[in-house]
């Protein structure tokens, strides 16, 4: 099957880029952004629903990740760690939105209609299904389809046996299918 997602530039491992950043070469962080931005954005769009919120959250997630790189003990776990940051940022944005508005569903809808038009072509059911997956299953789906990694590349990036990657993908498909068929 041809994956239409542009193939992510795979030069250099995550560890190498992180070491580069910590050694005073912050531009190397750009490689990590390019590598994972679509996956993070896909996760946040499912979580926050609105593209402008997702974009804002994705940007903030990467910036925070950069300033906290030294705290990342397992350098080969950058993506799961980044998703954790994105989850926190999404929660904060949710909270901020709720705090500065009147609590009424109509108001929220009204507000978002004023600020943006949501594209009709989006598969929101699918995005919500992906967003609701357990973290380990979500990681492989995001990397496979939104970051454009092959199963072999995922196994290398996440330091997992290839069989584990296909097993997780299989479980993720089953969960998504059940959710969609509901």
């Amino acid at each position: 099957m041809i994956n239409p997602v542009r193939v992510t530039e795979m030069t250099g491992t995550d560890q190498e880029h992180i070491e580069g950043c910590l050694s005073g070469r912050p531009d190397e962080f750009g490689c990590l952004v390019t590598r994972y931005e679509r996956a993070v954005f896909a996760y946040l769009r499912g979580r926050l629903r609105y593209p402008d919120r997702a974009q804002e959250a994705a940007q903030e997630s990467f910036v925070r990740a950069f300033f906290n790189l030294a705290k990342l003990k397992k350098r080969d776990s950058f993506f799961p760690w980044l998703l954790g940051i994105a989850r926190h940022v999404a929660r904060e944005i949710d909270r901020r939105d709720q705090t500065d508005r009147k609590l009424s569903a109509e108001y929220v809808e009204q507000r978002h209609h004023l600020t943006e038009v949501r594209p009709r072509s989006r598969d929101e059911i699918l995005e919500a299904a992906v967003s609701s997956l357990p973290p380990r299953l979500k990681e492989v789906i995001l990397l496979r389809f939104y970051a454009g990694f092959s199963c072999l590349q995922i196994s290398e990036r996440l330091n997992l046996p290839l069989g584990t990657v296909t097993k997780r993908l299989s479980r993720a498909y089953a969960r998504i299918r059940r959710r969609i068929e509901k």
């Binding site: 994956n3 912050p26 679509r38 906290n68 030294a70 940051i85 926190h88 598969d123 089953a174």
Partner: protein
């Protein structure tokens, strides 16, 4: 080949991850097995939908804005908070090295003190609980997102609490955990549903959530009745912000409790909360809210609960905190009423404890309800009358029928309802728990354990 392929094999085939030999076997099976072909087809539909959705993405790269923002924060110094984290991480690494430990000990202490001093010395952000109290005036609801300790495991949950209109007491509460557990307060009852057990356990009082919804009155009360309340500061490196930390401990009828509440010094709002069932905040918190959102006026629909068909309702047995048994058993406390039944004695002691409260006789009150001796007189007055004095009792209207609702190691636990009039003129239904001691003997005695749930306004 016998049987069917599993989904994992089919996924591996679809992803091109099977070795040639296994691929040959699986493809051979698929030619003969309609069931597996259908399963593969359904899996492919999901994959196609994912591919189509990913292709639909048309977002500009954020690489440039991210690097720009990093440069900006570095220049303006906003990243210092994170740098502090890195600095501390470095110090921790240094500390773990035996060779460095002795040499660096004084330097570490000095450096941390200096760094902390620089970051926290901002007098314009002086914080006080009063400011937080003012910040939540006018809000009537609050949403917590966090986790709950259920039988030693952490379960993510969300909880919504709504205050009564114009009052500090809680009106509704709904807690939903990711494992399906649901706890809610509706009217003067509390319900506990823990699937897969198809039973909803009911307390006929408000026994979950907050005695006062976490608005201004709750904070005011916390300030007044806490055994200790200390204010500290913490850097939330993750969110790149400074937080004010309030640590408080108290003992209530549910036993010892400690709280850690964190406030955003800018908005003055509560942003996180942890509670423990001990006084030193040790171990895993029983409840932890990582996110707290205040709401102006939560709608009724937020508190509606739908249950699966076939669920049955049962009354929940009453228990008391084991830490309180020692105080309840003290011989100098309680009443012995020879010749009366346990139910009659329970009514009498309830009448006596209300008389003590109305007359302001706190010594008598503590003798009848020994757990009250955990507070000093001022704290006890606040607990009884509310932070604004409006909840103090002016008159005992009637005492209802006692009911045995459980047992402790000392004997039966009897709930006695009563209707009282508060100073503000409103009538409330109270329920008190009476502990019968040495039941079955002629010389049994009883003490008041404490309230069963919170006072409930009679419309």
């Amino acid at each position: 080949m016998q049987g069917h392929m599993n989904e994992e094999q089919l996924t591996a085939l679809a992803e091109g991850c099977l070795a040639d030999q296994e691929k040959h076997v699986v493809e051979g099976h698929l030619q003969q097995c309609e069931w597996c072909r259908e399963l593969l087809g359904r899996t492919d539909q999901v994959r196609l939908r994912l591919v189509a959705n990913a292709a639909d993405f048309d977002t500009p790269s954020i690489e440039e804005p991210v690097l720009g923002e990093i440069a900006r924060r570095t220049q303006t110094g906003e990243h210092r908070v994170s740098s502090l984290g890195r600095w501390i991480a470095f110090l921790q690494e240094a500390w773990s090295s035996t060779a460095l430990r002795a040499a660096s000990v004084s330097a570490v202490v000095v450096c941390i003190a200096v760094v902390v001093g620089v970051f926290f010395y901002e007098p314009s952000h002086a914080w006080s609980l009063e400011r937080s109290i003012a910040a939540v005036q006018g809000k009537r609801g609050v949403q917590f997102a966090g986790s709950l300790n259920i039988n030693g495991s952490r379960v993510e949950c969300q909880m919504w609490v709504r205050g009564r209109q114009g009052e500090s007491r809680m009106q509704d509460m709904l807690l939903r955990a990711e494992n399906g557990a649901t706890i809610w307060v509706s009217g003067n009852a509390t319900y506990f549903y823990l699937p897969p057990d198809p039973v909803v356990y009911k307390d006929d009082a408000q026994t979950a959530g907050f005695t006062h919804w976490p608005g201004a009155a709750f904070l005011e009360l916390l300030k007044k009745v806490s055994r200790t309340a200390e204010v500290d500061y913490r850097l939330d490196l993750f969110a790149a912000r400074r937080l004010v930390v309030l640590k408080a401990q108290l003992i209530d009828v549910g036993g010892p409790k400690s709280f850690v509440l964190e406030f955003d010094p800018n908005s003055k709002l509560l942003v996180s909360l942890k509670t423990w069932n001990n006084l030193d905040a040790s171990g895993d918190p029983v409840f932890q809210a990582d996110s707290v959102t205040y709401l102006d006026s939560p709608p009724d629909s937020l508190f509606q609960v739908e249950l699966p068909n076939g669920v049955v309702y049962r009354e929940r047995d009453l228990t008391v905190a084991s830490e309180t048994i020692g105080l309840l058993a003290t011989t100098s406390s309680g009443l012995s009423l020879p010749g009366l039944s346990e139910a009659e004695a329970s009514r009498k002691i309830v009448e006596a404890v209300y008389a003590a409260e109305i007359n302001g006789d706190l010594a008598a009150f503590k003798q009848l309800a020994p757990l009250a001796s955990l507070w000093d007189d001022e704290q006890l007055r606040t607990l009884l009358a509310g932070s604004d004095g409006q909840e103090s009792i002016a008159e005992l209207i009637e005492v209802g029928e006692p009911r045995v609702r459980g047992r402790s190691s000392l004997g039966p636990l009897i709930v006695v309802p009563a209707v009282v009039k508060h100073q503000d003129g409103r009538r409330y239904q109270h329920k008190l728990i009476v502990q019968v001691r040495e039941a079955g003997r002629e010389n049994f005695s009883c003490v008041v354990y404490g309230p069963y749930g919170v006072p409930y306004l009679q419309e």
